[in-house]
């Protein structure tokens, strides 16, 4: 297969070695590696499984997709074709595409495009298919090579000419196969195909063309693998929540590690290639490579069933919990999981122990936890809160939590700040005035972090409100929060 420069010089596929060298003396010939080609084709087929379950590896490096059933899902033929093109490009290959109502028809058009002999390569109607195929040169027939240039010699240049010949004669000269093939291409005979089957477990390997030293470039290469992963996932109706990327390093130093592994895990299983790449990018940006990479391998570790998104007729803002989870994953991928948190209540009187922060979890899990927890807190409240008992007989919807009698500040300091005393009064930039009754909190002697504190609400002369406490043992004053 000549590249564009060679093609301009006149080198054509099928020309002999000496002929080619005569036309282009500086030609580099590359040997065909059948196994590599097959691997590459399978990789492309795997990535293309994202668009249709019926992917066929066909004759002469061609992948056939049956897209009739997928057109509406992807928003029409034009959108689908452009997505297929970009996927193949993302895998690192160039493609020539043809589109026709029959498999061989599409195959012919794609090859005609490769040889630059056809004007129209996207056909939807069967009537136009006949016209377009009729004009194609007969040399495109897959079995044409075995017959040499017999077709041209008998004055048969296009497929139309071939079809005009008496069927008996054609069958005697070229075998029954040609007629059968013609009927299949024109849609007059059935054309059963065996679809490409995705392997049971996902493992994709990519040998890099050059030594890669930067993480950014590595990401570009990883894109190919991720696209395959996305195709594989949709073929299995699955979603992934953890994968590992194995990098094989060039042996630069004797003690340098030969391989290294990245594990990327997240909460909500997904099969969206862009989202997976996003997470991978954040992971790669945070790490430095030990040595240049020459090969990479992608393994899907945790694969689960994919639940299709619930399709409501009128999509509501706020109903989309999945994309919300994706946002939080993006945030935690960049900022670190410990920096994107939720507040979770705990039963404790000490303000610093009454809540913990937990990394964000999908809504369903936290909900079930909450359900289990709430009866306990409710009974606790019933005992400690005489205040909310009402005189009315009708059932009253009470807030399902214990409300402290004294107000609590909205901001709390992680470590209380010690305050100075001036004129026997605590002082934080301005003198403070206590305006609440004492609230004594004495707890935690059982776990070694016991506190004995008297809490007060204080105000300064500008009206800002603070939450202070006084250590009972030492008598020191501390600032513990602000009323935001």
């Amino acid at each position: 297969m000549p590249d564009l420069v060679a093609f301009r010089l006149g080198v054509r596929p099928g020309s002999t070695r000496s002929h080619a060298f005569a036309l282009a003396p500086q030609l580099t010939l590359l040997a065909v590696d059948i196994r590599e080609e097959q691997n590459a084709l399978e990789a492309v087929a795997l990535a293309l499984l994202a668009f249709t379950p019926k992917v066929v590896l066909a004759h002469a490096n061609t992948v056939l997709l049956e897209v009739g059933a997928s057109m509406r899902l992807f928003g029409g033929l034009r959108a689908l074709l452009s997505r297929v093109t970009s996927t193949v490009k993302g895998c690192g290959f160039t493609s020539r595409m043809g589109c026709a109502p029959t498999a061989w028809g599409a195959w012919l058009l794609a090859h005609a495009r490769t040889r630059r002999v056809a004007r129209r390569v996207r056909i939807v109607k069967e009537t136009t298919l006949v016209h377009v195929l009729d004009e194609l040169p007969v040399s495109l027939i897959p079995s044409a090579h075995s017959h040499g240039n017999v077709f041209e010699q008998i004055g048969c240049a296009t497929l139309a000419d071939l079809r005009r010949l008496p069927r008996k004669g054609v069958a005697r000269r070229f075998g029954q196969g040609v007629l059968q093939w013609l009927a299949q291409a024109y849609g007059q005979a059935p054309d059963p195909r065996e679809a490409f089957c995705a392997p049971a477990s996902f493992e994709a390997r990519l040998e890099l063309q050059a030594r890669v030293e930067s993480a950014e470039a590595l990401l570009f290469a990883a894109r190919r693998l991720v696209l395959q992963l996305a195709g594989w996932l949709s073929a299995h109706h699955a979603a992934v929540s953890e994968f590992s990327l194995l990098l094989e390093h060039e042996l630069a130093a004797r003690h340098a590690p030969k391989t290294s592994t990245f594990k990327v895990a997240w909460a909500v299983p997904t099969r969206d290639a862009d989202h997976i790449l996003w997470l991978l990018r954040e992971k790669l940006n945070q790490t430095t490579l030990a040595a240049p990479v020459i090969e990479m391998k992608l393994l899907a570790d945790k694969v689960s069933e994919y639940a299709p998104p619930p399709d409501t007729l009128f999509p509501m803002p706020g109903s989309d919990s999945e994309s919300m989870a994706q946002l939080l994953e993006r945030l935690s991928a960049r900022l670190g999981a410990e920096n994107v948190v939720q507040l979770v209540a705990r039963d404790d009187h000490r303000p610093e122990a009454a809540m913990t922060v937990e990394p964000y979890k999908p809504a369903s899990e936290t909900k079930s936890k909450r359900g289990k927890k709430s009866p306990k807190t409710q009974t606790a409240r019933a005992e400690t809160e005489p205040e909310v008992q009402t005189e009315s007989n009708e059932p009253l919807e009470l807030p399902d939590l214990a409300v402290p009698q004294q107000p609590r500040p909205s901001w709390i300091l992680e470590t209380p700040q010690k305050l100075m005393l001036r004129n026997e009064r605590p002082f934080y930039r301005r003198p403070l005035k206590l305006i609440s009754r004492t609230e004594r909190i004495e707890a935690g002697w059982w776990d070694g972090n016991g506190v004995q504190r008297d809490y007060y609400v204080a105000a300064d002369d500008r009206g800002r409100m603070f939450w202070l406490y006084r250590e009972r043992l030492t008598g020191d004053w501390f600032l513990h929060g602000f009323f935001g």
């Binding site: 706020g318 005189e391 919807e397 409300v403 609590r408 300091l413 009323f483």
Partner: protein, 287 residues
């Protein structure tokens, strides 16, 4: 013409609707607008509430002046009744769960994002781009005009409210945010004589809207932001009070007595001068 325009309104998506200038943005009802919970503030805000699609700048001297209590009603509305998430991006201190719960905020809908200063804008922008978020609260001590404009552009496309907390000295700088207000705590008028327990209920916040769509505000608003929300829902509390006024009180809290005496003395003087003693007494009972 008016009829044609209103018909047009129905067909437009909310995104387009926001692009079309509606003539009178000050009192234009929109279903996406969240009431602030304060009547006086609602009347002053364009659209009678916090409006999605624009950054609201709250200029405060330092966090802890009552900014959360100011937004509590909207956050409660968004999290508890609408089930939408509220994201805190880089707050200066740790949000206290107990306080948020007493405000009846659904705390499982809150997300606290801790971010370094250079990551705050990125996190805020990502959150604003996300659909289905109720409000994004951003704390940014230092921000340049370009970043602000970018934030405003992100907010314009968003369905969520965007609040940006900035220091007081930023009031002098120009900003792309369409709504800017200076919030300052103020002392209650009779702070020196006031019962301390009462003081906690009488904490005031002065709000000066320095920029809004529409005419400028004549004088700053003063809102009452009690430190502690009443535990019972509004209508029950009112019914309870009405019943209490009718019934004879047998048990009296000592704090109540002090407050009562302080009030009655003041009220008695007032009433004597006006000659309306009995009416004043019945009002006191009602309280």
């Amino acid at each position: 013409m008016g009829a044609a325009l209103s018909l047009l309104d129905i067909g437009l998506t909310s995104h387009l609707q926001r692009q079309v200038w509606q003539g009178s943005p000050v009192n234009d009802p929109d279903s996406n607008i969240i009431s602030s919970g304060f009547r006086a503030l609602d009347l002053a805000l364009p659209g009678a509430g916090w409006m999605p699609g624009s950054v609201t700048e709250l200029l405060i001297e330092e966090s802890g002046v009552g900014e959360i209590r100011l937004l509590a009603h909207s956050i409660r509305e968004l999290t508890a009744s609408k089930g939408r998430s509220v994201i805190f991006v880089a707050p200066p201190w740790k949000p206290n769960l107990a306080a948020l719960r007493t405000m009846n905020i659904a705390v499982n809908k809150l997300v606290w994002v801790k971010a370094a200063e250079d990551q705050v804008l990125w996190a805020a922008e990502q959150s604003l781009k996300q659909e289905g978020i109720g409000a994004v609260l951003i704390w940014l001590p230092q921000v340049d005009a370009k970043a602000l404009r970018r934030l405003q552009v992100a907010a314009q496309e968003a369905q969520s409210l965007a609040f940006l907390f900035r220091p007081l000295k930023a009031a002098k700088q120009s900003s792309a945010a369409p709504l800017r207000m200076v919030c300052k705590p103020i002392l209650p008028a009779n702070a020196q004589t006031m019962n301390r327990r009462e003081w906690m209920q009488a904490v005031m916040l002065e709000i000066d809207i320095i920029k809004r769509r529409g005419p400028l505000l004549g004088k700053p608003l003063q809102l009452n932001l009690p430190l502690q929300m009443p535990a019972l829902p509004e209508h029950i509390r009112r019914a309870h009070q009405a019943r209490k006024a009718r019934e004879v009180k047998h048990v009296v809290d000592s704090g109540d007595i002090a407050a009562f005496i302080a009030r009655s003395r003041q009220a008695a003087f007032d009433a004597l001068s006006a000659g309306e003693l009995d009416i004043a007494w019945s009002e006191l009972d009602g309280e």
